[in-house]
């Protein structure tokens, strides 16, 4: 999706309802006014445009991979191109889409609104973060296309340090992206602590803010370890410092420790905000308070912290000690329990609610269902013994796609639909939205369920060619992927259409009692005409409220 011209949402004559007057979108409509803005809402919108573009690219790479895997023998690409493609897919999806996806877009847009603040604590830092993201993305993609890194997104040494292809530019790009992530994280943490409006105590903070807060903690504490680790790999690949080089007494398994100390919590960077989105959406569409605020908050912080101590479950067959395998196995189980608590709490929230079937709610249902199976397959992997069989097979691929695509992406699209009227003041066609959502959930299942079975059958990941007995499952998976692609195409079309021609939404089209809906949609430049006082708990639907349900 291209970036949004500033004036589209407001310069149309009103169709029904009142056209949003003087929103953040029409304070300065030049490109320059967008590029130099310090407004968290505009920065959020620009991030949204950027990550959607990256998602589109990553998706195209994924479809190309699935196309190649239709046949056991080489068909469209040669081996090197295939290896570069899956690296490209991984790097784009992980660092350019999933990590920034929800925090930098909806987090940026909604966090101050939900806190009753006029902006983030450090608006200039926020803009710097966007520029660093753009710069890092350019360097990374340049590196990928120029040097053609073929190491996979994990950069395992010594392959990455001895491979003849250029890995340095990509590492530099990811390093820069890391700074963008860290700055965003610092900004969110400080904003949550110090910019809350009167009456907004820690016990009232919306659940989405809690997850963004938890995510920021992970971003701030994990990303630097990745930065230093990748810097070491880069120095080794470029200049031969050999800290992980077994021929010079280095330990490649140490690299894996350091890499996964970032990259496992990174999974929670991707999924925690999604959980926050679902907490909001469940409440909004069931018109119900969350059934246990404490359980969700505790499990959010639990995931944020315990998530740091499970990284070793990526190394059960890498030569790690048996003691560590046991320790990491138990700790991984603990993280899974927090997720289980969340799933059960969301389901309980529906009890005696008033549930509306909308596109965001379909995504929520998909999220919960897919997260359940993604999480349970994770638990199964953490039992150590079955992991011996599953490690580095398509089972793992299916598992993390259930979490990252099944859950994170569903949450991302749920959030996109839910907050679309908040951001642009217009509604998308609901029927089409529901249809596309259902299509995506089923397309997803068709793509990745066969991959679980492929993993069971022993198909290793990152295989360009494969033994013939795996073909039928690969064909099913590719068919599902094309269904997914089709679904996303529909969404892109109707959302682009709605930006200009969608029905004007009014301040609160969902009748939601999330704090961010207390201000007009789209919000005015400084977020509020009058800062709300936060007298009631978030998502409190016990009393009727005038003006809701318009």
């Amino acid at each position: 999706m291209r970036q949004l011209p500033a004036d589209e949402a407001s310069h149309q004559p009103p169709r029904d309802g009142v056209a949003p007057a003087h929103s953040y979108l029409d304070h300065g409509t030049t490109v320059w006014s967008w590029l130099t803005t310090k407004d968290h809402k505009r920065i959020g919108v620009m991030f949204l445009g950027s990550v959607l573009l990256m998602f589109f690219m990553g998706g195209v790479f994924a479809l190309l991979l699935r196309l190649e895997l239709l046949q056991p023998q080489p068909s469209f690409f040669d081996g090197l191109t295939y290896n570069r493609l899956f690296t490209l897919h991984g790097v784009t999806m992980v660092w350019l889409f999933l990590i920034p996806s929800i925090p930098t877009t909806f987090g940026n847009f909604c966090l101050p609104l939900m806190l009753g603040a006029k902006d983030l604590a450090f608006p200039r830092l926020n803009l710097a973060s966007l520029y660093l993201y753009w710069f890092g993305a350019l360097v990374t993609l340049f590196g990928m296309f120029q040097g053609g890194t073929d190491t996979g997104w994990t950069f395992y040494t010594p392959y990455s340090t001895t491979s003849s292809v250029e890995v340095l530019p990509v590492l530099v790009g990811i390093f820069i992206l890391g700074f963008s992530t860290i700055l965003t994280g610092v900004n969110f943490i400080v904003s949550t602590h110090l910019t809350r409006a009167k009456g907004l105590t820690w016990r009232r903070i919306p659940l989405f803010v809690w997850t963004i807060y938890g995510t920021s903690i992970i971003q701030v504490l994990a990303t630097p370890v990745l930065a230093i680790t990748l810097a070491l790999v880069g120095l080794d690949a470029g200049f031969g410092i050999g800290l992980f080089d077994p021929q010079r007494g280095g330990d490649p398994v140490l690299y894996q420790h350091l890499f996964w100390f970032y990259s496992h919590p990174a999974v929670y960077i991707m999924i925690l905000p999604g959980m926050g989105v679902v907490s909001e959406l469940v409440c909004a569409f069931a018109r119900k308070n969350i059934s246990s605020y404490a359980a969700i908050v505790i499990s959010t912080l639990g995931i944020a912290f315990v998530g740091f101590f499970t990284w070793g479950h990526h190394m059960f067959v890498a030569g790690q000690s048996v003691f560590d395998a046991g320790a990491f196995g138990v700790l991984s189980m603990l993280v899974a329990i927090f997720t289980a608590v969340k799933i059960l709490t969301w389901t309980t929230t529906l009890y005696r609610g008033s549930i509306a079937i909308t596109a965001p709610f379909v995504y929520v249902a998909g999220f919960i269902f897919l997260l359940f199976f993604g999480g349970m397959s994770g638990v199964a992997l953490a039992t150590t013994s079955i992991d011996i069989h599953w490690h580095d097979t398509y089972f793992v691929v299916a598992h993390f796609h259930f979490i990252m695509v099944g859950a994170s992406l569903m949450a991302f699209f749920g959030a996109l639909h839910y907050w679309f009227p908040k951001m642009f003041g217009r509604r998308y066609p609901e029927g089409l939205g529901i249809g596309a959502a259902v299509l995506i959930v089923f397309g997803f299942i068709a793509t990745f369920l066969p991959q679980f079975l492929l993993g069971n059958a022993g198909m290793p990941r990152r295989y360009f060619t494969y033994p013939e007995q795996y073909q039928p499952l690969h064909v099913t998976s590719t068919a599902g992927a094309s269904l997914l692609g089709f679904g996303f195409l529909i969404i892109a079309l109707y959302l682009a259409w709605s930006l200009r021609w969608g029905k004007v939404s009014g301040a609160n089209p969902w009748g939601s009692r999330g704090y961010e809906w207390l201000t007009p949609s789209p919000p005015p430049l400084h977020n509020f005409h009058e800062v709300p006082t936060f007298e009631r708990d978030v998502h409190d639907y016990t009393v009727p409220e005038a003006g809701h349900g318009a």
Binding site: I217, V225, P246, V253, H257, G312, Q320, S321, D324
Partner: protein, 102 residues
């Protein structure tokens, strides 16, 4: 004013102490002693020069968390290297010495 100078004197004193202690054979304890002194110095700097003592609790929490995390990673990594199958430990049985020069 005096407070800062006194802290500085303490820091210099600790530096001299750790230097002198490194000359005394303390065997396996040497690293523990050196690190304990370093930790004492760091605590002084953080609390008084960086004024953590005056700042809010959340700041101490942030710093504390990062230190705890390093400790946990180091511990688990050491448990890994120390308890691995013997020939898997660095440097492994196949790499022993470095040949330099002719």
């Amino acid at each position: 004013m005096l407070k800062y100078v006194l802290i500085w004197v303490a820091l210099i004193g600790l530096t001299v102490t750790t230097f002198l202690l490194s000359r005394v054979p303390t065997g396996d304890w040497s690293i523990a002693i050196a690190l304990a002194i370093a930790a004492a110095k760091a605590t002084l700097i953080v609390l008084f020069f960086m004024e953590l003592a005056k700042h809010r609790g959340a700041s101490a929490l942030a710093l504390g968390t990062s230190l705890v995390f390093i400790a946990v990673v180091l511990t688990l990594a050491l448990f890994d290297v120390g308890l691995r199958f013997e020939p898997t430990r660095p440097p492994g049985p196949l790499v022993q010495t470095l040949k330099v020069g002719q």
